[in-house]
Amino acid sequence: MSLSPEQVQKIAHLARLELKPEQEGAYARQLSDILEMVGALARADTERIAPMAHPLDMVQRLRADVVTDPVGAEGRAAFQAIAPAVQDGLYLVPKVIE
């Protein structure tokens, strides 16, 4: 499996990554190398094998549907203090609706 620079740009878009034009070539080569390496999986016989999502033999634990706040009453302020841009308790982003 060999990826073209155009395919790399498409994947980068899906992953919301801005690539510099000079990165495309190296990424195309390296990602193709990685995909070639993982291509070895195709040779494994997995007929009737159930996919394994995680190693634990357990079901998801449930808890009561109540609000928990690990940082206490000042939670909102504490979490917003580390945000790049906030105002009146809200996160600021570029305008999304005209």
Binding site: A26, Y27, M37, V38, L41, A44, M52, L56
Partner: protein, 500 residues
């Protein structure tokens, strides 16, 4: 205690960094030195050596001295446990309230968590250990050389031109150089064991679910597990004892009592059944490393263990399986870094999409971007079945191999890495060559079983690591076997030149 009554442990003349955690705990209780003196000793060593090694992202001297004072007060009342007053370092992947948690990334260069990770709380607030600082690491724990860190590469104390391994490269370099008695670390595909091997340390990755991951920055959630690096299995047992246990805040935490790791250390290993997978001794393993591994296996035999050959037929598919599963999970986990709620935000974005793209383009380094893109690709429409679903099925085959093996053996033994530490820059532009560093360690993460690496010799003056893998929740047996080996050998006592 006045200065005049100090025992031989105090002052700058005594090599406090050569003592085991048990010896340090005894020294504290005998008042040969205080926790404050201990913290100062290690802080001075960090000051003296870390410009060379670059093993710390942040040194928390003030916090360390305050925690040490609290530990001294606890010890003076005859209270506290085996870690009270013992300095340790934290991998910079664990959230620490009020102290930056960078995860080795520009993305989190300004991130100060508003809460502590559970293991940070357990080790410091509960067990009374003293935090010296936060250790450098590969960016988001993605790497096997500690060269992908935004804060620059870490150097191997055994040879400064070589890598310490990764991703827990800062943790191992700090401990190997005697800048901290032990450090926390994490292991998604070998990030505890491979660097431990490359720096002559003991490093244990516990069973998936044994140690809480609450407050540990996520990489690949079905594989990530926290553990410890230290000089010896005994030291590791003390630290792991304080870390392990159920945590309701982590949905993958297993509610099951924690064994007494320290009490299990002294059991003889007469009759222990150790399996030797021939797949772990195939082409690729350096012959000199292989010889050291085989000598070590002979030592286990002399200690009474019974060695028998086993098969792990799907082990050779571990690396390809991992490089589908781990990037897939990483691409999902790292979607949270959007430049909105915390972390790096690019300037000048005109739209929300541009804000995401620019922030992530600037905030993530090349290896993280590669893995996000691989993950995005294997999860994308048309490729999901061929890659992701296929890898999940092969993962089951790898898991079944181990399940089958543990029906006849207690532990599985093999090399930790194919070779000793390599030169800085050697594999940086060849991701696949870098990925093969973890060829022997990844299977334990895919299966979820515990595994550790112990030093078992030297090749060209560089440490070689031996890997032991155990059945689910068999950490006590792993540490026991490693400890019995270390009672009979002295590889774990060797120190790199210049850091004695």
């Amino acid at each position: 205690m006045s200065a005049g009554t100090r025992g031989p442990g105090a002052g700058s003349g005594e090599a406090l960094h050569r003592l085991s955690i048990r010896q340090l705990a005894e020294g504290l209780r005998a008042r040969r030195f205080s926790s404050r003196e201990l913290a100062q000793h290690f802080l001075q060593r960090i000051e003296a050596h870390d410009k060379t090694l670059n093993s710390f992202v942040t040194v928390t001297a003030e916090r360390a001295l305050a925690q040490a004072a609290a530990a001294d007060a606890r010890l003076a009342q005859g209270a506290g446990g085996p870690l009270t007053g013992i300095p340790i370092a934290q991998k910079d992947i664990f959230c620490t309230q009020g102290v930056k948690t960078s995860c080795g990334s520009r993305m989190l260069d300004s991130f100060v968590a508003p809460y502590d990770a559970t293991i940070v709380r357990k080790l410091h607030a509960e067990a009374g250990a003293v935090m010296l600082g936060k250790c450098n690491m590969d960016e988001f724990a993605m790497g096997s050389s500690n060269e992908t860190s935004w804060y620059g590469p870490v150097r191997n104390p055994w040879d400064l031109e070589r890598v310490p391994g990764g991703s827990s490269g800062g943790s191992v370099a700090a401990v190997a150089a005697g800048l901290a008695p032990a450090a926390t670390a994490t292991d998604t595909g070998g990030s505890i064991r491979q660097p431990a091997a490359l720096t002559g340390l003991t490093g244990i990755k516990p069973t998936y679910g044994r140690v809480s991951r609450y407050g540990m920055v996520a990489f690949a959630s079905s594989l990530d597990q926290a553990g410890v690096v230290a000089h010896s299995a005994e030291d590791a047992a003390y630290v792991l004892q304080a870390m392990a246990g159920f945590d309701p805040l982590d949905s993958t935490s297993v509610d099951r009592p924690v064994d007494d790791y320290c009490a299990a250390l002294d059991r003889p290993i007469e009759g222990l059944r150790i399996g030797l997978p021939k797949e772990y001794f195939a082409a690729g393993l350096d012959p000199a490393c292989r010889a050291a591994i085989e000598t070590a296996i002979g030592q286990f035999e002399r200690l009474g263990a019974r060695i028998c050959e086993i098969r792990l037929p799907h082990a050779p598919l571990s690396v390809p399986t991992y490089y589908v599963v781990a990037p897939a999970e990483a691409s999902s986990n790292l979607a949270r870094y959007d430049g909105v709620r915390y972390g790096h935000r690019a300037d000048g974005a005109k739209t929300l999409e541009e804000l995401y793209k620019k922030s992530r383009g600037e905030g993530f380094g090349a290896e993280v971007q590669r893995r996000i893109m691989i993950g995005t690709y294997v999860l994308s429409h048309g490729y999901y079945d061929a890659y992701y679903l296929k890898a999940q099925k092969v993962r089951r085959l790898i898991y079944d191999d181990f399940k089958h093996a543990f029906e006849t053996v207690d532990l599985v033994v093999g090399p930790t890495a194919q070779n000793v530490a390599f030169k800085l820059g050697d594999k940086l532009d060849d991701p696949v060559a870098m990925y093969l560093n973890d060829i022997y360690t990844i299977a334990a993460n895919l299966a979820g079983i515990p595994a550790l690496s112990i030093p078992c010799g030297f090749v060209n003056g560089l440490p070689v690591g031996l890997q032991l893998m155990g059945n689910f929740f068999d950490e006590a047996r792993l540490l026991n076997a490693a400890h019995q080996y270390q009672l009979a050998t002295d590889w774990h006592l060797r120190r790199p030149h210049g850091f004695e």
